[in-house]
Structure formats: structure tokens, C-alpha cells
């Protein structure tokens, strides 16, 4: 053992241990999440849901997994052999890797070694997360193309366009966070959210607002308060990136059979399935980290290192619940509406919001001006977001079709 420690150094050993534990936990969580989703949806639809295997049907997912694992491997004749095989892995791995920069808790000290409860505190953490998100596209794109049949291809073309569009919005929505936190490191961002709203100096010196702001002293200083538009954009884009309802067009079963999944079965299908749920967990965890203070929460002296983890998990589960809730209640978007939302609403809104944040946080600009800009742009953004699609208001006549499509084409 010590020889190994000598060779690699203690840091490497700790890293390996962290990787193993995190991924094991993540996979375990995912399995639970699948069960969780079925249960919650069943509940919302006044059904019972899985109930045969284990307590509350908890082992149902495991059973499904075993079934899929032993199912006959199947590959269509027209499929592109290697790409077809790589695609599920390509879908799964980036999703898993994305979790590497998410801090699940504060530091833990063993003897003289201090270990942060994050796999890797990269100073480009947010960018890493985005990078993994953008690599996640490949799984779907390749799956659709490699299957060698129409519906999967259509699904993956849809998916490509969708993911590129919403990735942009997501990236832009994270810029204000980096601006206010002054760092791209997720740990720094969580640390910056410690304390309470009272520490936000924005209203200082403004007579009435300063008193009112005192009321918020007990509310944690999470970015959700000051950055909620960014959160809205981030979360919508996140849902779109996971290809889940209401953005599940790539696998829209009523239009494309099962989209890029049509030709997949058995263990390969399981990998896609798993990847999607891992993605859900990662997006939820990221939302928690960036906007809801991460592990931040009241701690107690008993097992003090564990409390942050528990807070983190609770918050994450809340978001997973939100995902499931969406799926249960929202109808699927039409494809042009999807593009419209992404390009004409989310991206402009995100851009405006970056400007707002930048102005508000610039030193040297008079506070009155900053406040004015803040309120003014806020109103603009609200009106902007609230406006519907103008094209819906007027009926499209055959003559004006050429003009009307110009905007999209």
C-alpha cells in the first residue's frame, strides 16, 4: 500500500477514492431517481406505480436493469457498426463526468489531510460543466445517424439543433453568476453564497430600501434572489439539454416513434436511459450549486461534515422533483416554438441580463444610476419575456408566407 502511495502520492490516492465513491453514489442515485419518477408520476396520476419489488417497489429499477442487461443485443443491418456501438457510451460518459465539478459538501479533515468534498475544484469549473454538456450531444447525434434509418436521423437532427440553441442560452445564463462571484470555480461560487442576504450591499445607503433589506437578513444569500432571471434561463435550458418533457422532441414518440432511440435495445438502450437520468441529476445539482447555495445550510456540531452533504442532497432532490413535475404536467412544444423560445426569448433575455448584472456590479457607477438601470432593464426584460410570439397573432396568408418565413430561414 505504502509503495503505491509513494509512487502516486497521497493526492492521487484521494482522487481515485473520490472518483470511485462519487460515481458509485451517482449511479445509485440514478437508479433511485428512476424509481422516484415512476412513483411521483403515478402519484400525480392517482396510480400506485411500481410496488412489487422490494419495499415500495424500490428494486423495480434494478429488475428492469437486469432484464435489459440480459436482453439479446440487436443491431440493424443498415447501422454503422462502430458508431452505433459508441453512441450509448458517448451519451452516458459526459453526463457522468459533468458531476466532477459539483461540490457536494464542505471540506473534510482526516488527521492532517484536508479533503474537499468535490471531485475536482477546477478554476474553470463552470466551463468544464458546459464542455461536458456540449459533448453530451454526440451520443444522440451519433445514435440517430448510426442507426441508418429515417426516424432516428430526424430525431438526432432535431436534437442537434435544439442542443446547440439551448447550450448558448445556458452558457450565457452562467456569465452573470461568474460576474458576481468573480470566479468560474464551483466551490468559489458556493462559498460566495454563504451568509445572508443582509450582506448584499446593493441597497446600502438608500433610505427606505436599506431598512426593508434588513428584513432579508435571515434569508440565505443565495444567487437565486439577485440572479433569478439567470436561474430561469438556466433551468429551462437545462431541461432542454436533458431532452426531457416539455422539450423531448428528439424522442417524441407520437411523431418519431422513439427518435434516436428507435433502433436501440438491451444494454445499449439502458445506457441511454441511464445517461438521461444522470443528466437530470447533474443539472439539478448544478442548479443547486449555482443558485441555491450548494451545500449551504444550518449545520450542527454532530457530524458537522455531514450536514452540508445532507442539505445538498435535499435541495437536489427538490429539483429532481421539479423535473418530474414538468414531465407530468407540461405538453410537448412544437418544434418551431422550441426554436423561437430558445433564440428569440432565452438568448436575448440572457444577453440583457448579463448587461444588467454588469452595470449593477460595476464599481464607479453611481448607485442611483445602477438602481435605475436595474429597474429599467428589469421591466424591459419582463415585458420582453411576457410578450408572446407575434406570429401567432395574425393568420398566415399564402401571399405573405415568403416574407414571414424570412426571419427563421
Amino acid at each position: 500500500m505504502s509503495a503505491i502511495v509513494d509512487f502516486f502520492g497521497i493526492a492521487v490516492i484521494i482522487a481515485v477514492v473520490k472518483v470511485v465513491i462519487t460515481f458509485a453514489a451517482l449511479l445509485g442515485t440514478t437508479i433511485v431517481v428512476v424509481w422516484f419518477e415512476r412513483k411521483v408520476i403515478a402519484d400525480m396520476q392517482a396510480r400506485i406505480g411500481p410496488s412489487r419489488w422490494g419495499p415500495f417497489g424500490l428494486f423495480q429499477t434494478l429488475a428492469d436493469g437486469i432484464k435489459l442487461f440480459f436482453k439479446e443485443d440487436f443491431r440493424p443491418q443498415t447501422a454503422d457498426k462502430w458508431t452505433y456501438a459508441i453512441a450509448p457510451v458517448a451519451a452516458m460518459v459526459p453526463a457522468l463526468l459533468g458531476f466532477a465539478v459539483i461540490p457536494v459538501g464542505d471540506e473534510v479533515t482526516f488527521g492532517d489531510t484536508t479533503v474537499g468534498l468535490v471531485m475536482s475544484d477546477l478554476n474553470v469549473g463552470i466551463l468544464y460543466f458546459l464542455a461536458m454538456g456540449s459533448l453530451g450531444v454526440y451520443g444522440i447525434v451519433l445514435a440517430g445517424w448510426a442507426s441508418g434509418s429515417k426516424y432516428p436521423l430526424l430525431g438526432s437532427i432535431r436534437s442537434t439543433a435544439q442542443l446547440i440553441s439551448y447550450e448558448t442560452a445556458m452558457g450565457l445564463s452562467l456569465v452573470p453568476i461568474a460576474l458576481v462571484a468573480g470566479s468560474l470555480s464551483t466551490v468559489d461560487i458556493v462559498t460566495a453564497q454563504a451568509g445572508s442576504v443582509g450582506r448584499v450591499t446593493f441597497f446600502d445607503g438608500i433610505p427606505v430600501l436599506e431598512q426593508i433589506s434588513a428584513i432579508f437578513r435571515f434569508i440565505p444569500n443565495w444567487y437565486i434572489w439577485s440572479q433569478w432571471p439567470a436561474f430561469v434561463i438556466f433551468f429551462i435550458a437545462g431541461v432542454a439539454e436533458t431532452n426531457r418533457a416539455p422539450f423531448d422532441l428528439p424522442e417524441a414518440e407520437s411523431e418519431l416513434v422513439a427518435g434516436y432511440l428507435t433502433e436501440y435495445a438491451g444494454i445499449r438502450y439502458a445506457l441511454f436511459f441511464l445517461g438521461e437520468y444522470v443528466h437530470v441529476v447533474v443539472i439539478s445539482a448544478m442548479a443547486v450549486t449555482l443558485f441555491f447555495g450548494g451545500w449551504d445550510g444550518p449545520t450542527f456540531s454532530f457530524l458537522s461534515w455531514l450536514w452540508p452533504v445532507i442539505w445538498f442532497m435535499i435541495k437536489t432532490v427538490a429539483f429532481i422533483y421539479l423535473f418530474i413535475w414538468f414531465r407530468a404536467s407540461l405538453p410537448r412544444l412544437r418544434y418551431d416554438r422550441l426554436m423561437w423560445l430558445g433564440w428569440k426569448r432565452l438568448i436575448p433575455a440572457a444577453l440583457v441580463w448579463i448587461m444588467v448584472t454588469a452595470v449593477v456590479n460595476t464599481a464607479g457607477v453611481a448607485r442611483g444610476v445602477r438602481l435605475g438601470v436595474f429597474i429599467g432593464l428589469f421591466v424591459v426584460v419582463m415585458i420582453f419575456i411576457a410578450r408572446g410570439d407575434p406570429r401567432q397573432l395574425k393568420p398566415v396568408s399564402p401571399q405573405s408566407q415568403g416574407r414571414a418565413t424570412r426571419g427563421v430561414a
Binding site: 462571484a181 468573480g182 470566479s183 460566495a192 456590479n361 460595476t362 464599481a363 464607479g364 416574407r403
Partner: protein
Amino acid sequence: MNLAQEFSQPEVQLGGIAPELLLVGVALIILVVDASFGRGDNRWYLAGLSALGLAGAAALAIMTWGDNELQLSNMIAADGLAAFSKVSLAAFGLLTVLLGRDYLARDKIEESEFYALVLFAVAGMMLMTAAADLIVMFLALETFSVSLYVLVAFRRASLASHESAMKYFLLGAFSSAFFLLGIALTYGAIGSTNLYGGADPVAEPGIANFITGTPTDDLSLLIVATGFLVIGLGFKIAAVPFHMWTPDAYQGAPSPITGFMAAGTKFAAFAALLRLFDASLFPLRSEWRPLLIVLAVATMIAGSVLAIVQEDLKRLLAYSSIAHAGFVLTGVIAANDRGVSGALFYLATYGVAVLGAFAVISLVAGRDEERVLLADHRGLFYEHPLLTTALTLFLLSLAGVPVTSGFVGKLVVFGAAVEAGYTWVVVVGVLTSAIAAFFYLKVMATMFLQERDPDAPALPVGRLASGVVAVAAVATIGFGLAWSPLINAAESATIFFQSPQEQSAPIPPGG
């Protein structure tokens, strides 16, 4: 944590890039105006707006005349070279816009983006001429290249236009990669990409190049980098063997854009070449001169010889533009004041002449450019004596016959090369000029000495286009007779080029 507290803001002087800023601004205004107002039939105001913007940019460039400093963290040179180039480029842009207006109206092509892209391209070219850092040079190059890729494909009904855009694009991107490698190796050699080594050339004229700031004598990596930079810029100036894109791109592009490419791209790339070699790398001239000489000789010969067999007038002028790149290169090789000012003069007058020529060609070509073959110009003289005379004038200028500006340009660059001791290069230049005269003559012979095809449709001659032709013709003759103003202006562009000691001493042959 507030970033601004630890961050020293750079000093922002906008004087040097004011023309570019204005052009980009006008381009954006055009796009907004286009998007906001309906799509009327007669949208003269877009052309007017761009013309105003270009004129304004020229005015702003003239206002910086006499400045001689590096601005914006040494990224931009506000000097004579930049000012001269910007005024010339604005003039090219102006002619292109006016010509384009008639062209687009005739071919019924949607136009607003045309003007915006031309403005972007001019802005990019201007920035390239002013770039004092390789990365600025590269970004500027890409800005105008990207605009031109699209402009080449602007004849949307024509497959040939698209094909030429594709070839232009692929080879352009290919050459960019080489240029980038050159930048990377330069950075590796000297730790920076700045052409002036970050030094203030006005305060210390002796170190107005980036080599002297280098703490080493081993410049081998820099020399290699130079080679790659030459490849990259060689594509843009269409020097042999990097010329393959030129005929295709010139042939397929809309004629106004072809003229603009011939005039503007060449000017911008050569201005960069002059700044790079005759200023920054001047101390290394014995290393790069052989390279450029080989390039120049090959370019002159290949351009002239290949042009002879062309049947398509646009293609013919494309090869002729290759040959001209070789002629200008002799000025670069000379690497003296006269060479630099001569090259600038050459490029400015060549640009005007070639724009005029393509103006006539676009008029003769008719709708969808159906008549661009040499044979389509048979007996043109008897139908349109004035147009034909103008085209003859441009061709004579390109051939370098006295009393036209082209002659003066050749005289000056050849003279500079003789002065620098490269007479044999000039001998090649003279021989190839004679070869080149043959195909210009062929065109003239076709227009004057053959019978008009009775089936040829009548040419509607637009007012703006004929104005462009007239202006170009007057300029071609005018600068051929009284060239001192222009050449003096070009000479003021050489301030940045040499340290005072080198200016006084004659340069020994062979560097």
C-alpha cells in the same frame, strides 16, 4: 470580489480605428434600417448611407494624416501607411457600392446585406493595413475574407458563383491555417506577436522593428515563421503558387465584387506585407528577399503566360491580377522608400483601373453575367464607343503604357528595384509586361477590330455605373499625367519604414 479593482484599464485611443468603427457602425445601421422598414423596391438610401459612411471613413482617415504613433496597447499603428491605405480602400469601397447598386438593381438581387458586407470587408481591410500586431492582422484578414466569401456567392441564381465561393473559401481557410502557423512560430521565436516589439517607434526610431527587441541572435525560428507568413499572405495577394483560387473566384463572383477583390484584397494584403517585411522584418531582409524574389518571378511569369489562353474576360483579368501581384512584389523586394511608396501608388492606381474595368465588364455582361466571354465584346466599340474607350484606357493602364497611371506605377516599383540593385528581377518584370501586353491587346483588338455580333442585346447602361467608369477613367489618366500628389502622399506613408540612418544610406544589393 470585484474584478475592476485589480484591473488596470487600458488606455483607449480611438483615433487610429475611427474609420473602421464608423464603417462597422454604418453597416449595423444598414442592417437595422433594412430590418425595420419594409422591403420597398427602390432602396437607394441604403447605397447612399454606405457611400456616406465610406466618405466619412475616408475623411476620418485623412484627419489622422501625419499621425505617427502606436495606439491601443501597440495593437494599431496610426501612421502614414495606414492613412494612405484607408483612404484608398474607402475609395475602392465607394466605387464598389455605387457599381453594386446598379448591378443589384439590374439582376434583382436583394441588396441590403451587400452593402453591409462590403462595409465590413472595407473595415477589415483597413484594420489590416493598420495592424501593428499579427493577431490583429489575422483577425482583420478573416473579417474581410469572411465577408468576401459571402459576397462572392452573392449571385444566388448562379451555380458558378457558389462554386467559386466554395473554392475561394476552402483555399482561403487553408491559407489562414498557414498564416496562423506563422504567427504561432513568430510568437515562439520572440514571445510576442507585436510587429514593433512593443517599443515606441517614434521615441526610438532605431527599434522600429520587432527583432531588435529580441534577446537572442538565433532567429532561425523567426525566419521559418516568416516563410509561413509569406504563404498566408501569398494566398491573399494571389502570388504563384498560391494563386489557384484567383481565376475561379474572380470568374464566379459578381463583377463589382470581383473588382473589389482585385483592388481591395490586394491592397490590404500588400499593405500588411509592406509593414511586415519592409518595416518589422527589415533587418532580416537578406533572409526573406530570396523567397520573395522567387515568388515574384514565378508570379509575373505564370500570371502573364496563363492569361494569354483565357477566353473569359473575367478570368483573363484574374490572371492579369496575378501578374500585377508580381509587379508590386518587386517594390516590396526593393525594401526602400521608393519601393514602398511605389507599391502603394501602384496598388491604388491599379485598384481604380481594375474597378473601372470590371465596371465596364459588368455592364457588358448584362443580366446574370451572361456575356463575359471575350467573344461577347466583339466590335463593342461600334456600339458603345465611350465605354470601349474607357475600357481600353484601363487596359492600357494595366499594360503600363505611358500617360496612364499604370505606367507610373510600374516605373516607380521597377525603379525602386533597380535602385536596390535587383535589375534582373526588373528584367523579368519587363519581359512579362511585354507578354502581358499581348492579352490586353487581344481584348482591345476584339473590341475595336472585329464586327459586332448582330444578336447581341442592347446594353442598358446605369447612371451610377457609368459614373464609376468615368471617375475611374479620369483618375487613370489624371494620375498618369500628374502623379506627384499621389506619390507624395504615398511617400508620406513610408515614415514608419526605416530608421533615419538607413534612409540616408543606399541599400547595398542583396541586402
